[in-house]
Symmetry: C2
Subunit: 389 residues, 2 copies
């Protein structure tokens, strides 16, 4: 019994954490509940007034399947589903009618062949990367509707009526979903993407800020644990590609909202994202030296300390300005002087290395920093583009 | 007209490329076509013998929705769907029966509340990361079945019959799908994962092999383009995390096949994968120096050339041995001497740097290589574990 209690408590804790991490999850759950209940009641009452009959269940099904976390995803799925049902239904009715002109036996063979042909070819089409990204669901529903309608054993006029009923119930379910999704506490994928991009850049900034102190051990031991934790934040940036691509796809479906126009240049976010990731790869390499076994002697460290700390803190400031610039959607001019500072520090360090005044074992962490500085310049050029738009 | 022709030709080319890249895609498309046709015909004939009635369409729907590219994904979805339908149906029948004991008005309110409660809470449960990874589809279908059955306006005995019919048609569709998926040219996610892991390691090896020559420009200009292309292969490794995780999830559903037991330690692949990626991050940093603007003078290069070329080629050999070891599932002993060689080369280089015989501007590309060497040792220790299993 105690074991069960423990499980219950840990589950409750997880639940609380999930809710606190992102309260929109709770709101989303209630929204889904609301939408399903409304449409279910529509389905329930319809039974007595016998308007749509069994077809009314398609409305419920549409709500359950189409309602996604963000507005973009919901709209995309809804539009996919509506168009695919329309096309698949039309083609299905066509195939059904064509088959009904022929004899009893030929009929079946024709339908079987057409189903086989359509299903195989559309399944293959689903492998095209571009279509897969945006219209995968539509292609699936297209196959489904086509098969269900063309093979149904109804008479001609019945088929047309069934297709019509199915389409209209799906439209009812879909529009209820979209309505609730957009007008009750909407969750915009575009906004999420925007914040994600800014946050990722900021995480890199936090790392660079901590790195100088951490490496040269200028901080007290007391809050070292804290620093360590904040430093590791950049690790989520390394694998952010999938999330970003999904959000961009969703965002493309969204109408104008908040600060974003309908045709906001979402692809720019992918570019910034990939630059941020490349920067994060360098930072990961840099991070390796914090934990590596080969330690440099303190004398050498102090010699490079000034320039290195300067570089990493200037880069950090620049990145923070960039993140802020993205957040407020303004041009990122305040970042430029920081980048210049970082560059001059890097140059100074390089020239002091060239004079060869001291033995050098661990210059390693400098030139990656220089790389980061040059990366930053690239990022800036992109960010200016974005900030303009 | 010419424009349309061009579009047609380019689409045809894309299609050919898709098919050639992975011929299993074509086979998969035909399998889906076959399964859908079979089940559609079952649906078609059922209309005349009136066994399942409208419920027979659930068989078609199950095939369309459940049939995925790999066996693991199909099995996972099929099992999810079957269990969720069973549970959702049972709960739905229960709610329906409970509501029918009460009066006309209370009835509706009770059903509405229960649908709202179930839909909201299950939607929230879908956010739990562990459940999302493996049972997301089941939770969705659970909501769907529960709503459709509990809210349907049928009488009590009808509801039970409907639930029973729906479950059995879904089982028919699901088992047809699984049967065709497993017994006609199966595509195993486990095997794909295994090959992906080995290929990724090999891609890193190819980079390291090319890197030495490329950096010190010992190759002829003629085949430089070739080398460049093969070197860039590692870039796909950087973002392989999503694919790997999906494949591991699918692989866990698969029964014993080929060289893999049922409970193959799939999670080990995730560990190897993440180590491979960390190695790839370093390599990406290293690659930056190939294209960087700051060039070192040739004299300095020649001094470090020997050790560096040695290190990168030894690492490359070791990685190749590891990839081969994974492919053939043998212990990777032949890799060990290469790693030892690489380590001694790294040590030699480091000590020669310490003596400070020459000005040093670009030692940078050495210590990352040393890092890679130490990474390799970690990878080896994991690989040995795998090879044993």
């Amino acid at each position: 019994i105690r074991k069960i209690m423990n499980v219950v408590i840990s589950v409750a804790k997880d639940t609380k954490k999930l809710g606190e991490e992102d309260p929109r999850r709770i709101i989303h759950s209630f929204k889904v509940g609301l939408a399903i209940t409304l449409v279910s009641l529509f389905y329930y009452f319809d039974f007595f007034y016998a308007g749509f009959g069994v077809s009314a269940m398609w409305a419920v099904m549409t709500v359950v399947v189409v309602f996604e976390f963000s507005v973009g995803a919901t709209l995309g799925k809804g539009i996919n589903r509506a168009i695919a049902t329309l096309l698949g239904g039309a083609l299905g009715v066509g195939a059904h009618r064509l088959a009904s002109f022929t004899g009893e036996k030929v009929d079946v063979i024709m339908l079987g062949l057409s189903v086989f042909f359509i299903a195989s070819s559309v399944t293959f089409i689903r492998f095209f990367p571009k279509l897969k990204a945006r219209y995968d669901y539509a292609l699936l529903i297209f196959i489904l509707t086509f098969c269900l309608i063309s093979v149904s054993g109804y008479r001609n006029d019945e088929v047309l009526e069934m297709a019509h009923r199915r389409l209209s119930t799906i439209l009812i379910g879909g529009s209820a979903t979209v309505f609730i999704c957009i007008f009750i506490c909407p969750i915009w994928a575009g906004k999420d993407l925007h914040n994600l991009t800014a946050n990722n850049i900021e995480k890199l900034a936090i790392f660079l800020q901590g790195f100088g102190h951490e490496y040269f051990e200028t901080t007290n031991d007391k809050n070292q644990e804290n620093v360590k934790a904040s430093i590791d934040g950049y690790k989520t940036v390394l694998n952010s590609k999938g999330t970003e691509e999904a959000l961009v796809n969703f965002a493309k479906w969204e109408p104008r909202h908040g600060k974003f126009r309908y045709r906001h240049p979402w692809d720019q976010y992918l570019k910034i994202g990939s630059l941020t990731r490349e920067c994060a790869y360098r930072i990961d390499a840099l991070n390796g030296y914090l934990n590596s076994e080969m330690q440099t002697s303190p004398e050498i460290r102090t010699k490079i300390q000034e320039s290195c700390t300067k570089m990493s803190s200037e880069c950090s400031h620049a990145l923070k300005e960039l993140a802020l610039g993205i957040n407020t959607m303004t041009s990122s001019l305040p970042a430029d002087p920081h980048i210049l500072n970082a560059k001059t520090a890097a140059k100074k360090l390089k020239s002091s290395l060239k004079t060869g005044l001291w033995p050098d074992t661990d210059l390693v962490d400098i030139i990656p920093a220089a790389t980061i500085a040059s990366m930053l310049i690239e990022i800036v050029s992109y960010t200016v583009k974005i900030a303009d738009s």
